[in-house]
Each structure stands twice: as C-alpha cells, then as structure tokens.
C-alpha cells in the first residue's frame, strides 16, 4: 500500500496546477438560466482547448488516454483552485460519454465524444418516469420499430438540464413481451427531434435544474441504439456504474474544501468555539470527510486492478450523500440568522444545504444504494 505519485504524475500535477491558476474562471457561476448554460459551455471549451478535457478518455476520441489517478489529481487541483461546478456538462462528460466509450459503436463514438469534450454537445439523462423511479426496470416509455427507426411515445421525469441539452441517454421499452429487464434499449435521442417537449421543474433549492420530457411519435434512427436492441438494462447499469463510481469523484474531493471552510468560520467566532456540540460534530464530520477521501483512493485502487467500478461504488455514493447533508445541516446552525438568505445551489451555504437533499435521491436513492450494498457487496438475500 502506498500513496506515492510517480514523477510523471507529480509533473502532471504541477502542469494542472499552473494551468488552473491561469485559466479557472474567477467570476461567479450563474446558478440558473441561459447565462448558466453559456458559462458552463465556455468553461468546458476552455478546458478542452487547454488539453484537459477527457483526461482518462482514449486519445482517438479527443481524450488524453491517462489513468483514473491522473483524473483524481485533476479533481484535487480543481477543488484546490476553487474551479466551478461542472453543471450542464455533468451527464455528457461524466457518464454519457464513458457509456459510449464502453458500449457504443465506432460511428456513435465518432459522432459524439469529441463534441462532448469540446462543449459542443450537452447531454441529459432520460431514465426515471412518473411510474418508474427506484423500480427503473418497470419503465413504460415505448419504442416501436418502423423501418430503420424507433418511434417513441411516453414520458420521462427528473431529467436534469433537459432544457439545455442537445442529446439524451434515453431508456425505452423495445420489447413489451419480454421480462422487464430484457425488453429495454439505451438510445441516443436528439432533443431537437420533432415530438420532444420539455417542461422545467423548479427544485426546493429554487432553481430549474430538472425537467419533465414528453415524447410524441419521436422518430429515432435504429443506428442510435447503444449496445444492441433490448440490451439496454446492461448498458444502463454501466452508465450508473460510472455515475456512482467515478462521476462524483470531483464532488468527493470538493467536500473537504467545504468542510474546512465551515471549520474556519467556526474558529473565527469565539461564541461558536465554546459550543462543544457544534465543534465536536464538526470534528467528527472532518474525520469522516478524511475517510471519504481515503475511500475514494481505495475505490480508484480497486478500479485500477479490476478495470471498472463495482457495486462498492454504492458505498461511496451513499457515504458522500450523507456527509454532504450533515455538512449542510451543521452550516445552517453555524450561520444563525444569516441562513435566512438564500444562496445559489453551488455557492454560499443555504443553497448547497437545500441542494444536499438531492444527494440521497438522484442516481439511485439511499434506499436503493443500501439494497445494492446488501445484495451485491454483502451477499444478503434479495430485498423486497
């Protein structure tokens, strides 16, 4: 066991640090609307031009072809530099793109990967439906084959950034007669295709992050099916593996920065320093945040040996969600009356506090993560 970075990795860190120092946006990231989208896209573009987009993606698709360790170094320096949240590029860069790399055809990879890295394509995720949340495989959005197209009818919900997206990773039922996990396909949906309608939904944090999406005879080429017709459940599990595994590495690294910011705030106020309930809870959170970083390292070490994130990713996802919520709750106590003023979801304290409730819902609820841990890590009998 070691925490040594190779000379090449150290060199890489120095380059990242220098580049971020000169290039990370200093201005405030807008929390909503077109201004937010334009900001996120411009920042993605700048990272690409600097040679920092897709660090662990293959070189032939515009990436750097480096390992998850370099990716980790990037996020460590990213957090250190206070660089902004990835925003609308989350789905494309962190799980849609990786899913295409793992499961897509050559044509699909050529059509999308480079454009995702350049900030030319924003992606969203069409998995959940009004009747299919935790029981994702029960989804009913139908796709019927008509010549060389699928014709899609149905509805998706909780689709983050659908109003800004160009493409969507969409799960549809292509065989209604097959067992529920075997009749699903993962398709690339053009969000500008006729029959796609998007209605933004406001979150409890006050912004319009997610949407309902309606499909009315939307025609999608069969060539857009990823990983084979009726094989979508397996592809979706790989997507969720990326989302739960490496997708939140940046936020895991960032949590430590936020915890230290709250500790510094408490240390600057003598009245709070005398409140051992606050200081001890914060101290425990600090220790657990250190453990989260250690778990991130352990997870990467395991992935490096095994090649892909496993069910253990659910442990990290759950732990991170719970710690983020504890930080939010503590911050509301520390802030006092200042907590009456709402901040952006990604800046200040009240916005992130409210946003933290999504951390144990999105990407599989805490309950689903516990099911996965119980069944696939501990080998307990299946829950109902």
């Amino acid at each position: 066991m070691n925490l040594d970075f190779t000379p090449q990795e150290e060199q890489f860190r120095q380059e990242v640090r220098a580049w971020l120092q000169d290039n990370a946006p200093r201005e405030h990231r807008p929390g909503d609307g077109e201004a937010m989208r334009d900001f996120d896209i411009a920042w993605q573009r700048r990272q690409y031009e600097g040679g920092w987009a897709g660090i662990a993606w293959p070189e032939e698709y515009g990436g750097r072809g480096l390992s998850t360790i370099e990716q980790l170094i990037w996020y460590q320096e990213y957090a250190r530099a206070g660089a902004p949240y990835i925003g609308v590029n989350f789905v494309g860069v962190l799980h849609g793109g990786p899913t295409l790399i793992a499961n897509g055809s050559e044509e699909q990879k050529k059509a999308h990967l480079l454009r995702i890295l350049k900030g030319e394509e924003v992606w969203c995720q069409g998995f959940s439906e009004p009747g299919s949340g935790s029981d994702l495989a029960s989804l009913r959005t139908r796709a019927e084959i008509d010549g060389d197209h699928l014709v899609v009818n149905g509805q998706k919900i909780w689709t983050s950034f659908a109003q800004w997206a160009d493409y969507q990773e969409l799960l549809v039922r292509t065989d209604p007669d097959a067992p529920k996990h075997k009749g699903i396909s993962w398709v690339i949906c053009d969000m500008r295709a006729p029959g796609v309608r998007v209605r933004p939904i406001r979150t409890i944090a006050g912004h319009h992050e997610y949407c309902e999406v309606f499909y009315d005879d939307v025609r999608i080429p069969l060539a857009n099916v990823v990983g084979g017709l009726n094989n979508g459940w397996r592809v979706a599990m790989s997507t969720l593996g990326f989302e739960r595994g490496t997708g939140f590495m940046n936020e895991q690294v960032r949590l430590a920065t936020d915890v230290e910011a709250l500790i510094a705030l408490v240390k600057s106020r003598p009245a709070l320093m005398r409140d051992t309930d606050i200081t001890r809870r914060l101290s425990r959170l600090r220790a657990e945040t250190a453990a989260l970083q250690a778990m991130t390292y352990a997870g990467i070490s395991l992935n490096e040996r095994r090649g892909a994130p496993g069910a253990e990713a659910s442990i990290l996802r759950l732990y991170h969600g719970l710690l983020t919520q504890r930080l939010g709750r503590l911050s509301m106590e520390v802030l006092g009356t200042a907590n009456l003023e709402l901040s952006d979801p990604e800046a200040g304290w009240t916005g992130p506090y409210l946003y933290s409730f999504s951390r144990t819902i999105g990407g599989g609820t805490a309950e689903i993560q516990r099911n996965i841990i119980a069944e696939r890590v501990l080998g307990l009998p299946r829950s109902r």
């Binding site: 066991m1 070691n2 925490l3 040594d4 970075f5 990795e9 360790i69 980790l72 230290e260 500790i263 510094a264 051992t276 200081t279 001890r280 914060l282 101290s283 425990r284 600090r286 220790a287 657990e288 250190a290 453990a291 989260l292 970083q293 250690a294 778990m295 390292y297 352990a298 990467i300 070490s301 395991l302 490096e304 040996r305 253990e312 442990i315 759950l318 732990y319 309950e367 993560q369 516990r370 099911n371 841990i373 119980a374 069944e375 890590v377 501990l378 080998g379 307990l380 009998p381 299946r382 829950s383 109902r384």
Partner: protein, 334 residues
C-alpha cells in the same frame, strides 16, 4: 498510489487470519474459565515467535523492519479475534524501549518473555485502571502526554474489579513509585501515542468487520415470516450501513498507516481521523449487531457483546472520543 495490499502485505494478513481463526475462534467457550485463563494470553509467546511484536521495529533496533501498514493489517486481524490488548501494549513498549536505546528491554519484549499490561488513567491521573495486569510483569502507562513502561510492582493497592470488558482482567490501582527507566514525555511521547492510536484504530476496524460478518451470516440463515430475515430491508439496510462504516474506517486506517510509515506531515491528522472513525464504526456496528441478533444479541453466551465492550475499553486508552474530537478540531487544515 495504491490502497490495495501488496502481495507481501497479503501474506501477513493470510498468515494472521489462518492462525487466529484456528486458535481463537470467536466463541463464548473461550471465556468459560474466566479472562485470566483465556487462550489468547497463552498464545502471546506464539505471537512473539511469529515476530508480531517486532514486526514494525527497524531491523537495527531488533525488529523485522516492516512498516506501520503491516502492523495496521495485523492488528485488524487481532481485533477480529479479540486478541488481548497485551499484544498492543508489548508493541508500543518495544517501540519505547527502542527509542530509549534499551536493547535488552527490546529483546525481552519482542521475544514475549516480558509480558506487558496496559493502563487507563482517569484524566491522566488517579485512579489507574490496569488491564491484564495479573498476567504481566510490566505495565505500559499511558497518561496525558506521557508513555512509560513500569514494573508491575510499582502499582499498589491493586484491587481486581469486575470490568465492563469481561474478556480481559481489570484492576484499580495506585501508582506507588514512578521511577520509570523507560519513559517518554511531551514531544518524545508523541510518536508513541500516535502509533498506539493507529493500533487502536486498526483493532476497532477488525471489531467492526467481525460483527458485520456475524450479522450478515445470521441474517442469511435465520428465517421468520417464512423468509430469511436478511431479505427484509429493516434488517438488510442496517447491515448495509455496517458495511459503509467498515469501508470508511478501513480506508482511513490504511491511509493513516501509510502516512505514519512514510513520516508524512499529515500523519497526526490522518491517525486521529482514523481513530475517530474507527471507534464510531466499532460501537455503532456492535450496537446494530446486538439489535439485529434479537434475544441472542443480548445473551452473554453469544460473542457480539465482547466487541462492543472491547470498543468501549479501547476508547478510553490514551483519551476517549470527546478529547480526541477536541484535539482533532484544534488541528490546522491540511
């Protein structure tokens, strides 16, 4: 960067696990005859022969030159098997002797010839509680910012008490003579206290894992309402939480062990974090395990309560959770 054990480290884990599961199966029969006759004490010489006390000492100090990582992995196994804290006391005592250049004491300690008990001292002073003192000729005193190795005879008015952890013996005692030949204070004691905290964290990781495994096995076998109880989320979800706490505590203990071995600037920070996370994991997991075992969990003849009690015992060694949290909060950010 790699937090997976190396082949060499794997070998230490496998050897320890094989020996301990054979010689010390976690079973209530172990303590039928009382803690003083427990088989783990009788095995101390065998552990010494295997090199477990000398494992992490530098070769020029009479050790095997392995690092804190190997020791951490070893004590995780010892924690699973509820091995007597005398092993931990001997390892720290040998480090103290090596730091003081006392080769004779090092040799007596690493050979297992000199047996060491461990003290817990209320607020660094009286009364002193001596753990396993009846089977020891020396006692490791851990009080405030001081670590010392004293002949057992230096303690007086020794009175056996019924301890919370019935798997070890406990005495109340006063410290009569404190002319310790082997003593470290303040800055000199810091690396020893840090090392002790790492071993405590590692032991508690093993305890947290042991009760997780016992509970998963129970939930996979026991049926109620016509189903294995592990299929009920009211049972499986607390088991999942146990797994999360184990993963957090183990990962942090590994990171802390590496930082300590490498002499990193953040070693103190990481070790203290490891201890805080591990004590929480051990107590929370053992508590959940008692609940999930129902009536069996509350029965003394079933082993789970020993893990809960061991966690509370070790929590008090060198300063309990609240003082650990206060000290950790006072540290500067990394």
């Amino acid at each position: 960067m790699d937090l997976m054990p190396s082949p060499e480290e794997e070998q230490i884990i496998d050897t320890a696990r094989a020996l301990l599961s054979k010689e010390l199966p976690v079973d209530y029969l172990r303590w039928e005859k009382g803690a003083a006759a427990a088989p783990d004490r009788a095995l101390l010489s065998a552990f010494a022969e295997l090199g477990w006390i000398a494992l992490g000492l530098p070769e020029d100090a009479g050790g095997f030159g392995f690092g804190a990582t190997e020791e951490m992995l070893l004590f995780r196994e010892a924690g699973r098997a509820l091995v007597t804290p005398m092993l931990m006391a001997a390892v720290i005592a040998a480090r103290l002797a090596a730091a003081r250049g006392d080769a004779e004491s090092v040799a007596a300690l690493v050979s297992g010839e000199r047996k060491v008990g461990l003290t817990i001292s209320a607020d660094g002073g009286e009364p002193h509680y001596v753990i396993e003192g009846d089977g020891a000729d020396h006692v490791l005193l851990v009080a405030g910012n001081r670590v010392a190795l004293l002949p057992a005879g230096n303690f007086g008015e020794r009175a056996p008490v019924a301890g919370v952890d019935g798997a070890v013996t406990l005495e109340r005692a006063t410290l009569n003579e404190d002319g310790a030949a082997l003593s470290a204070d303040g800055e000199a004691a810091r690396p020893l206290l840090r090392h002790l905290s790492l071993l405590i964290a590692a032991t508690l990781v093993g305890a947290a894992e042991a009760v997780r495994d016992l509970t998963v096995a129970h939930a996979s076998e026991r049926s109620q309402f016509g189903q294995k109880i592990g299929s009920f989320q009211a049972v499986s979800h607390p088991c999942a939480d146990m797994a999360v706490r184990c993963e957090a505590a183990l990962s942090q203990a590994k990171l802390a062990a590496i930082a300590l071995r490498d002499g990193s600037e953040d070693a103190g920070f990481q070790v203290q974090a490891a201890r805080i996370v591990a004590i929480d994991a051990a107590i929370a997991n053992a508590s959940a395990a008692i609940q999930l075992h129902g009536g069996m969990g509350f029965a003394a003849e079933y082993p789970i309560h020993f893990y809960l009690k061991r966690a509370h015992l070790l929590d008090q060694v060198g300063g309990a959770a609240a003082s650990q949290l206060d000290a950790f909060f006072a540290l500067d950010a990394l």
